[in-house]
Symmetry: C7
Subunit: 72 residues, 7 copies
């Protein structure tokens, strides 16, 4: 792997967990990303302290909110 | 979908819920957005802890305040 | 409307309410704005917890302080 | 007025009050500014909770500290 | 060594510990980095107060979250 | 004076007091600055609550830490 | 000295103390820096409240974490 965004490219279409700076997490399918990385997540669930707090559908997350993106 | 902003383009003219960094939410019709994404929301309602706290009409929200944008 | 700044252009010369990141509000006439959006407000009143705390005249507000701009 | 910085140009040589992000205020004569807007204030007084806490002479203030600039 | 990113290049394929701005740590193999530096870590473990709190697999970490990167 | 950085140029070689965003102050001779403004201070003393807490010699301060620069 | 980064160039290969925004300090030999300034420190020790809390070896520190760099 040459560049970090290659890892996001490999994760496209797969289920990921995104840690956000507001200490919440979003879990769902990675549909799209850009260099910031702004991301679009499908079938998104928001979790707080390990519990699902909202089902959100297809959402846009602003890139500067992202802490890390891991496989779910 | 290729780019995250495509998701916002698909949401144009529809009702969205925007989570803001000040932990408030704005619900209304997505009228316009740009790459930041600054957004314009029509018939905007501001919510805090799930309750409507203000009806705001057509508002401009600065892009760096956006956490996520979801269908309402 | 194509771009979010079009909404500010339509608000020019009208009374607006600006929510700031320091949780204060400024109400007055929108005289000028740029892409940040830095704004100039005339006959500006500063409010905190719904009360007028200062009358400020014609003021310059740094764009990164803006949360949202709504009709007043 | 076309651009927000025009308002600062009109204030040049006049007494202004600058609200800073650290919740202090600086009052004095606006000598120079740029697009950030970094500013130079002459005969600057620093105020906190409405009281003068320091007389500072001619000072440089970093632009990102500025909340708003009003006539004094 | 001429440039700081040379040090990351030398660490590629090796085990590193990354201190994050949210006061957590990630330990694992440095797979990729860019100039921000966004990083990809393989076999990532998240630690908090010295204890492993999550095993995360191959993760993407946003560059602005990085405090420091050290050999593990 | 045309530009704010002119004021720093006039202060070069003179004793200045720099207020930092961490609420500390550095006092010493302004040796160099750039547009951020990163600064180099010679014979630097760090003060906290008006007391000297460290003598630091010749130091580099990152520009984004600067609140204001005043004559000492 | 013309530019602030010249001071870092003079410190290259010497022992420095770096104050970080998380209120920790890193002491060690300055190996490399760039304009942000990201830095590489060799034989790095992390200090908190004046005590060594970790020996870290050769580390990369993200430039935006730097408050100041002083001779050690």
């Amino acid at each position: 792997m040459e560049r970090p965004l290659d890892a996001l490219n490999q994760a496209k279409g797969k289920k990921v967990i995104i840690d956000l700076k507001n200490r919440k997490q979003v879990i769902g399918t990675l549909m799209a990303f850009d260099i910031h990385p702004n991301v679009v997540i499908d079938n998104a669930e928001e979790r707080e302290d390990g519990k699902i707090v909202r089902k959100l559908g297809r959402i846009f997350i602003r890139g500067d909110m992202v802490v890390m993106i891991a496989p779910a």
